[in-house]
Structure formats: C-alpha cells, structure tokens
C-alpha cells in the first residue's frame, strides 16, 4: 500500500517503512543507540531527499528512545544523574559542532574530513570492543570472573575534582569526564547530524566503566533530548520533518524497541558488547565502501531552490 508524504513529496510503501522502523527500533532498544545512523541512509535509499531523511529519522529516534527508556527505567537501569551530566556536555558540544561545520565549510572538503575521521574512529572503537568482549566471553567460558569492570582499579579518571555519586551506575567519580564525553559526542553529532549513541555507549562502558545494562538505559535517556532538539531544529531551519513518514516509522520503532529491550535483557553483557561491536564495524565498512567504491553515476544533482 502506497502512501504520499507531504514534505518528502513522494510516495512510499507503508509496509516497507513500518518494517524499517521496527528493525531499527529493535536495535535501538537492545543496544541503547538511537539508530539515526541506520534509518537515515535507509530512507535515502528509498528515495527520500537527504534533508527529510535526516530530520524525520531524528523524529523517529525520539519515539523509540522514549519507548526503550521507559522499559529500562522500569528495571532500574537509567542513571538520570549521569544522563543529565552527559546531556549538559552534549548540548555545548552540539553547538560547537555546528560552528565547526561552518568554519570547515569555508576551507572546502568538509565531507571528506568528516568521513575519514569518522571511519577511523568507528573502526578503532569496533575493534577494541570486539577484542574486549571476546576476551570476556573466553574468560567466562574458562570459569574466571567475567567482569569488564575492575573495581578498585584507579585511573586518571578517578583523580579529578568535582566528584559526584552516581548511585545507579555504582560510581563515585568526577563530573568532568562524563561532561567531556557528552561534549565530544555532541560535537560529532553537530558535525555529522547523528545522535552519536554508538560512540556514547562504548565511551560509557570503557572510559566511565559503567555496567552494560545501565549504559543502555542512560544512553537512551539522553538520546531522547538530543534527538528531540535535532527534530525541532530541523523543522525550524529546513522544514524537513515529514510527520506522515515519521508516524509510520514511529509505530514500528516503539514496538521494535520493546522487543529489543527484552531481547537485550536476556543477553549477557559481553555478548551484547560483541554484537554492538559487530554493528559498529558494519557501519564502518559501509562508510568505507561509500568512500572508496566508484560511484554509480559520476555526477549528482541537488535542488537549491524553486526558481522564479
């Protein structure tokens, strides 16, 4: 069944969109990521204009993150205090990111710089996570304690001032590292137009050493706000949010997020991390293919404005 989208100004199959929303929502609820980096390219593949794909994707992320956060919150897996500190950094970072884009645009080749940084970043995160989680799985199999967190082990992170007690995360650390993590992820979000959950999650796991389950809930919690602001900003600046498309994606997304959350609950922390590592590496490979493979057409067109 086809449905016409008033903002995208094209017609799409309602069931395809619903299915895409469900699949991305499932991954979102399972890993605590927003899924904007998955939904946006999928929508573009279906012929949705880029600006609409980015903005509408953000709107769908709001719905599936609310759905996922609620179910994690019920299980006591949302650290609101940590989420707020991350978010505070994120807002500052996103603002700086948008400014950075403006500066880089003047020098040209911004797309290239971002894409390169991005793939280097993603591949290292993916590989580190994969190695760590596989190691943890091995240790679990051989009977040794399989914990990514080593309580009692102190790093530079623990020597900083402004210490706060994060009860849900079972941490007593300085507010500076989470603020800085929020800031750098926000910086990337502002530059790339993605929520950055799949960067935030590894950072919370490996730098802050939060428990895997709390990471998922807390990440989803702060993504609600990031994606919400992104949606409003895109609606105001580009009028690019397609509510009809968003609604179809959301219905799929919120259902998928519930199933994803309960699926994630059944998995062990290290299995979850290994799967997320594979997902991150998959995205990285896709980016590399875009960068290196010969394009389908040597040219691209873009509508600048309606003529007189």
């Amino acid at each position: 069944m086809q449905i016409y989208l008033p903002i995208a100004e094209t017609s799409v199959n309602i069931f395809t969109m619903f299915g895409m929303g469900t699949a991305v929502g499932f991954l979102s609820g399972m890993f605590g990521i927003g899924g904007g980096f998955l939904i946006t390219p999928l929508l573009m593949l279906m012929g949705i204009p880029t600006a609409v794909a980015v903005a509408t994707g953000a709107n769908q992320v709001v719905a599936s993150s609310v759905s996922g956060t609620m179910s994690q919150w019920r299980r006591g897996n949302v650290d609101i205090k940590m989420g707020t500190v991350l978010l505070a950094g994120g807002v500052v970072g996103a603002f700086l990111g948008v400014q950075a884009v403006r500066l880089l645009k003047e020098t040209g080749q911004i797309d290239l710089t971002i894409a390169l940084l991005y793939s280097v970043f993603l591949s290292s995160i993916g590989i580190i996570m994969l190695v760590e989680s596989l190691g943890a799985m091995n240790r679990a199999r051989s009977g040794k304690p399989a914990s990514a967190r080593r309580p009692g082990q102190h790093s530079w992170v623990h020597g900083l001032p402004l210490k706060l007690r994060f009860q849900r995360s079972k941490l007593y650390i300085s507010a500076i590292p989470p603020f800085l993590i929020g800031l750098s992820v926000g910086l990337l979000s502002g530059m790339l137009g993605v929520g950055g959950g799949f960067i935030m999650v590894p950072a919370m796991l490996y730098i802050l050493r939060m428990p895997t389950k709390v990471v998922i809930g807390t990440s989803l919690f702060q993504i609600i706000f990031v994606a919400g602001l992104t949606t409003i900003f895109h609606a105001a600046a580009n009028q690019a949010v397609d509510l009809i498309l968003a609604l179809v994606l959301m219905v799929g997304g919120v259902i998928g997020a519930q199933f994803g959350a309960s699926a994630g609950q059944k998995l062990r922390g290290e299995h979850l991390r290994a799967l997320l590592a594979l997902l991150v590496l998959g995205v990285c490979v896709r980016l590399m293919v875009d960068l290196f493979a010969p394009p389908q057409h040597p040219f691209s067109i873009d509508i600048l404005s309606a003529g007189a």
Binding site: E9, A237, F299, S305, G307
Partner: protein, 268 residues
Amino acid sequence: MKPPYRGITVSAPVSSALALALAFVALLALLAPAQAQRETIEADTSDREIAIESDFTGAKIVVFGAVDNSRQPTANSGYYDIIITIRGPLETVVTRQKERVAGIWVNGRSEAFANVPSFYAALSTRPLDVIADADFLSRNGIRFNPRAESADQALPPDAFEQALIDLKQKERLYVVDSFAVKFLSKSLFRGTIELPANVKVGRYSTEVYLIHDGKLLSQHKNAMLVHKAGIERDLAALASDRPWVYGLLSVIIAVACGLLGWTLFSRG
C-alpha cells in the same frame, strides 16, 4: 405604353465580359474556404487540476486535441506531426562531479542551473529529430535544455548538462516518448503521459505544436495545476507557516507514541 425606363443601356460585348467576371468571382468564393483557411489546432488535458492526497502515486495525463481543416485523408497518412511538451514549475539545480582524490570519491567541480523545469516531457508522433531540425526544436524551446539563457542554445550540452538530463531521466522527471502521440482520425489526436509521485506542486504548462514538413503550422497552450489537498496540504502549510510549532508538535507526537508503545507492548 412604354415604361419610363432610364436604365443604363449596355452594349452586347460589355455585358458578356461582366457575366464572365461574375462567374469568376463565384468560382473564387467556392474555392476560397479550402484555399485560404489554414490548419489550426485546439487541445486540452484530461485534468486541469491534480490534487495530491495521501493515496497519490502519480497521475496519468491525457492530452487530446483536433486539427481544424485537416488535409490528411486518414489517421494513418502521417501528413502531420504533433509534438506535446509539458513543463513543471522552475527550480535551481546544482550538478556536482565526483572526483577521485587519493582513492576516495569526493564532490569536485559543480555547475548551477537556474530556471530548470522540475518536470519536463516531450511526446510526439515520431522521433523529434525526424520531425524537425535542431534549430527549429531549440528555437521553439522543445528540447529540454538546462543551460544558461546566454549560452548558445544550438551547441550540444556539456558534461554537466548531460548529467543533469541523465539523472532527471532516471527519476522519471524528464521523459521523451517519441511515439506517444497518435492520430485517431484525420483530425483527432491524443497522447498520454505519466506524472510520477515525486512531481513538484505548482503550475504545469502544456504546449502542442502542429508541424508539417519541418514547419510549424499551429500551436496551442494550456495550463494545469498540481496541488496538495486534504491533510497533505494542512501539514505542508503548518510546516512552512509555523515551523517551530510543527517541530514541537512532531516531538510531542513522538513522545506520546513512545509512551503508548511502551504501555501496549511492554514485555517482562
């Protein structure tokens, strides 16, 4: 009694010359309609207005018309050629060339085109090149020529222009259908064109050209309006008139949707 007749008396030779002249005029009058009245065309589209609603998947437009004073004996004589062009609202488009830098594909040189029709179709009875020469086609604006108005219209398109044509063609926003117009009788003709779902809203102009032997005999213009209707129109209007309200509304709907999904499908 002789009537008071003061008529002009004419001699026999003069009167016979007058009769001849009268006969000639009568003959001219008989022949005149066929001789002096040239062919003209009239045409119209099946829809003057296309409303886009939620079930819109594109539209089929029939352009039909008639040749008045047609000289061809049957529909199949091929005496006339018809070209129909349909043009959508204008837009500014930029074409970017992808270039390889150190193994990586990046956007390189670009060229902007102003006033390019967002949709363009040319339907005809035979291929355009066969119907008329390139000069005629560009003079009458029949070719889809995305280029600056100052550029020499007769020159073949450069790589950027060709790319624009190719990519528009791929999106079915640029259509050339060489045998889409058919004569149904010696004067009636019709052509069909599909507007894809991704057409822009606005005014579409239709022009019909009647051609014989590479020369324009008659021309007819029409307009058609494509617009959004129902909820599609209301949403688009809200998005452009009150963008902040629209954005806020989108987020509120998303939050509500998330909460509803959680209550309905919560597992465990």
